[in-house]
């Protein structure tokens, strides 16, 4: 449950309609971003904070139009800097629920530095990372998550650079919360966003988003509705890692590696499977889950990691409270008169 410790609860029950802005949504028809907007519309009333306590911050790119489409306080920043702007906003005003809408170009390339540092500091903001593996708004250049060899407008002979795995970057930055969802599963996305809001610290939610114009079907192998039960592992805390249309496959730890097994074969049963612990601080299994990809593994979906840790914003408040209690300097006049002074 949401704690309402620092952020005030809404005295009235809100609905999805309360968060619809008067702006025309200008994303392409069929863009995965529409689903994200729908999930946010679902989850904000469910989170239950006062409407005025939500703030959306974005950088540049298709994703970053998001603040215009939600009726909250909104800040449309500059390329790559959403995390830095959101950091200042949250530290200055801890009573806000701060959400960042960003993309793979915005956060992994030009804003990579801010992205890793906000995660390291564990500032209590929620980052919606629209990963469509392409620069959409500039019309089709490869991004830091574009698969090796992809032909795009700036890689007519195929890309020759290795892509980031978002989860790897988040865990490498000592992230405390990472979740992944496909854009065609609004129900799961809504659940995951609620978990992100609940988590104290920087929450990164990677959304496998389809760009229908410049990178159509890049996630198809994983997200296709007909085959997704075979290609996706839906993680639930405390439950064994089972997947497959007939729930006949699972994940075990074999030595130091994860392995896909079939239940009932070679004497393997449900009791042998790994049980998901999203709250453990040890990132070992979380890292391996984040890395899983076809053809040998399903892609892990849901909350992979939600490890408790102090947040920067909370520590800031605590240091200030302590200093206010203990310091002789209570006003600027006290400060001006502290140390060596003399009367003339």
């Amino acid at each position: 449950m949401i704690s309402y410790k620092r952020i005030e609860k809404s005295p009235v029950e809100l609905t999805k309609q309360d968060f619809v802005s008067d702006q025309m949504v200008k994303w392409c028809p069929g863009c995965g971003a529409h689903a994200i907007l729908a999930a946010v519309g679902n989850v904000f009333p469910k989170i239950g904070y006062r409407k005025e306590n939500f703030a959306m911050v974005s950088g540049i790119g298709c994703s970053s139009r998001f603040p215009y489409y939600v009726d909250t306080f909104g800040f449309h920043g500059i390329h790559g800097r959403a995390s830095a702007i959101a950091s200042g906003l949250k530290i200055a005003n801890p009573g806000l629920s701060v959400w960042v809408a960003t993309g793979d170009g915005d956060s992994m390339a030009i804003g990579g530095n801010h992205f890793i540092h906000v995660i390291r500091r564990n500032i209590d903001i929620n980052i919606l990372l629209f990963n469509n593996q392409i620069y959409g708004l500039t019309k089709g250049q490869f991004s830091p998550t574009t698969p090796l060899g992809s032909v795009t407008k700036t890689s007519p002979h195929g890309t020759i650079e290795h892509p980031f795995t978002v989860s790897g970057l988040v865990m490498g930055s000592q992230g405390t919360f990472f979740a992944r969802v496909p854009d065609n599963n609004i129900k799961l996305m809504t659940e995951v966003l609620y978990e992100a809001a609940k988590h104290d610290g920087t929450s990164v939610v990677e959304i496998l988003q389809n760009c229908i114009i410049f990178a159509d079907k890049v996630h198809e192998q994983v997200t296709n509705r007909d085959t997704r039960e075979e290609r996706q592992l839906f993680l639930k805390h405390g439950e064994p890692m089972i997947f497959g249309k007939d729930l006949d496959k699972g994940i075990i730890l074999n030595g130091t590696r994860l392995e896909v097994v079939e239940l009932g074969k070679n004497g393997i049963n449900e009791g042998d499977l790994l049980v998901h612990d999203m709250y453990t601080r040890d990132p070992g299994i979380h890292r391996m889950l984040g890395w899983m990809k076809p053809p040998h593994f399903p892609v892990a979906m849901g909350v992979i990691r939600a490890a408790p840790a102090d947040t920067y914003d909370d520590l800031t408040e605590r240091q200030i409270e302590t200093a206010k209690k203990n310091s002789k300097i209570q006003t600027v006049n006290d400060l001006l008169r502290s140390g060596d002074t003399w009367e003339i």
Partner: protein
């Protein structure tokens, strides 16, 4: 014991302590100037240290210095040439002798003048023996040796003993200047309170130095600098960077908007970040960002969130902040950017001062991107201008760049402590909760200022950002006429701040032969030179600009009343070209120096006399 010495009464005196980076010259200088201040002198100080933390021992590159100018009259600068030079090793003597006046007193640690160190400094012969110091009043003493001897009974190790020699020389200097040593002894006790052995060693060395000076025949003259006629009040010594930090804190307190600083360490601005980080009890939130861009962007986020957003930097950092400055301009949020200028371009000379960034502050952004630019003109008035920059930023909902410089930031002077309640009020234009007429870009008719609508306040939900917005409603727009309108409004909004800033005040007659024009940190040197020439009967006046954009409303009027105008700057002519652009009918002379050094009063006087004669 008592011996006959000549006592020389001085109006003012320039003293410089120089030594190897590890010799503790900054502490020595600070202590000496604190005691001068307590004795009622007016003063200004300036540390002169290398960028390297510990350059190779006994080399010119490793020389660290601390200069101060003390007097019984008004002191404007830390001084040009020194009257007393204290040199702790050959390299520091070699590097600084050129800054000593003819006949100056040289206090030299002769223990360090060994063959190897003499060679490392670049001397061929020992300067203490080759007659090259004739014409100076030389007090040479084996200071290191005497310090070690004085500590022999304390059982301290050799290293500590050698590191204490700065206190010996300080004791000697206190005798030379007829100062009481009770206060510095007490200071040592406070500073090293957890290390009784260090306290004892330092106190012993200080006393030993004082006693040595009292008995040595080498001291033929002592100095007396009487108290200056300062305005009554409570005083302290303050550096420009600390004054800036405190001015920001005062503005936050008076405005009721909490201070948020987003900043990245950079010489010579880092002390502001360090100082503000100490004051959590005043509610200051200090965020040491991952880079300059995050510094300013976090401050913009904080301003959007209702705090007084501040970022502090120096020239290269301001370059990195350019794009975000434009964001603060178009979102019309309050933001204070302090730029402690240093010599450029690029990394340039980080520890050397220069008026390097006036053009960058005015124009260094994409698009039509006007903001307010101000400049502090003394170490102490950094407090005042940091306060006012915050006031204008909040009351006029605009980024304000405050230019100081390394010379002001590192330098110190006496500061008459104000009562925060007596400072001008600060009234940010907060939007009222549930205001039915609220629109993000609805403006005050007179000032064109929009309301500050803080997230969390009911009924004020809105969106701002870097895209052009319609006036009043604040919706994204590429409408050609709306863009023209918004460009005009943003410029006009800044220009109208001219109604709220003071008029220029002329130092001297309001008309005449020559007007000396300066801005920012050169005030002390220009005022000294002009005052001196006025006393000699020349028709010369001086104005110093603290407001660069907008300029004071009487600027053209002031400039029009003189036959000649000379604009003096520590750059290649940035302000003079700004004036040429705005007031092209006025003929300007210019005097520029770009050496990483402040103006010397003598070089200014020479130029002014030449201009008056031509």
């Amino acid at each position: 014991m008592a011996k006959k010495q000549q006592v020389r009464e001085l109006e003012d005196v320039v003293v410089k302590f120089v030594g190897d980076s590890g010799d503790g010259m900054q502490l020595t200088g600070t202590l000496f100037s604190d005691v001068a201040a307590l004795s009622g002198n007016d003063l200004a100080t300036f540390p002169d240290f290398p960028a390297e933390i510990r350059a190779p021992h006994n080399t010119i590159a490793g020389v660290s210095g601390f200069q101060m100018h003390i007097g019984r009259r008004k002191i404007y600068t830390s001084g040009d040439m020194c009257d007393v030079l204290v040199a702790m090793n050959p390299a520091s003597l070699k590097a600084n002798l050129k800054w000593a006046k003819p006949g100056a007193t040289l206090v030299i640690d002769s223990s360090t003048f060994e063959e190897k160190a003499i060679g490392k400094a670049g001397y061929i012969e020992n300067p203490l023996e080759d007659g090259s110091l004739e014409g100076y009043h030389v007090i040479k003493a084996p200071i290191t040796e005497l310090t070690t001897e004085s500590l022999a009974d304390l059982g301290v190790d050799k290293r500590l003993a050698e590191r204490t020699k700065n206190m010996f020389v300080l004791g000697l200097m206190f005798y030379l200047f007829d100062r009481d040593i009770e206060k510095p002894l007490e200071f040592i006790k406070q500073k090293f309170k957890d290390k009784p052995k260090v306290v004892q060693a330092n106190q012993t060395a200080l006393k030993a130095g004082y006693n040595f000076a009292e008995t040595t025949e080498a001291i033929k003259i002592t100095f007396k600098v009487g108290a200056a006629p300062l305005e009554k009040g409570l005083y302290r010594n303050i550096t420009g960077n600390v004054a800036t930090a405190w001015g920001l804190l005062a503005a936050a307190e008076r405005s009721g908007r909490p201070l948020f600083l987003g900043s990245y360490p950079i010489t010579p601005a880092t002390e502001i970040l360090m100082e503000l980080a100490r004051h959590k009890s005043l509610g200051a939130k200090v965020f040491q960002a991952e880079d300059e861009i995050a510094g300013i962007c976090s401050a913009i986020g904080a301003s959007f969130g209702g705090s007084m957003g501040v970022t502090t930097t120096s020239g290269p950092g301001l370059s990195l902040k350019s794009e975000a400055l434009g964001l603060a301009v178009i979102t019309e949020l309050p933001l204070v950017i302090v730029n402690v200028q240093r010599a450029g371009p690029s990394t340039g000379m980080p520890t050397k001062s220069e008026q390097s960034d006036l053009m960058q502050a005015l124009f260094g952004r994409n698009g039509e991107s006007p903001l307010m630019v101000m400049a502090a003109s003394s170490s102490a008035n950094c407090f005042h201008y940091a306060y006012l920059a915050s006031k204008y930023a909040m009351e006029h909902m605009t980024p304000v760049i405050l230019l100081t410089d390394g010379y002001l930031g590192f330098g110190s002077e006496l500061f008459k402590i104000p009562d925060v309640n007596d400072l001008p009020s600060i009234t940010p234009p907060m939007a009222d909760p549930d205001d039915p007429n609220f629109k993000p870009y609805r403006r005050d008719e007179k000032t064109l200022v929009r309301k500050w609508a803080v997230p969390g306040v009911a009924g004020l939900r809105h969106r701002v950002g870097g895209l052009e917005k319609t006036n009043i409603d604040g919706n994204v727009s590429t409408d050609p006429l709306n863009h023209q309108l918004m460009v005009n409004i943003r410029e006009e909004k800044i220009n109208r701040i001219a109604d709220y800033i003071p008029l220029l005040e002329v130092n001297g007659e309001p008309e005449g032969e020559l007007l000396v024009v300066g801005w920012g940190g050169t005030d002390g040197a220009l005022a000294s030179a002009v005052t001196r020439m006025q006393e000699e009967g020349h028709s010369i006046s001086h104005v110093q600009f603290n407001y660069i954009k907008p300029l004071p409303k009487n600027t053209l009027d002031v400039l029009s009343r003189f036959k000649k105008i000379v604009v003096c700057e520590l750059n290649a002519g940035q302000f003079v070209n700004y004036l040429r652009m705005l007031f092209p009918a006025i003929p300007y002379h210019q005097f520029n120096k770009v050496q990483g050094l402040p103006f010397h009063v003598q070089e200014l006087t020479d130029i002014f006399i030449k201009l008056l004669e031509d």
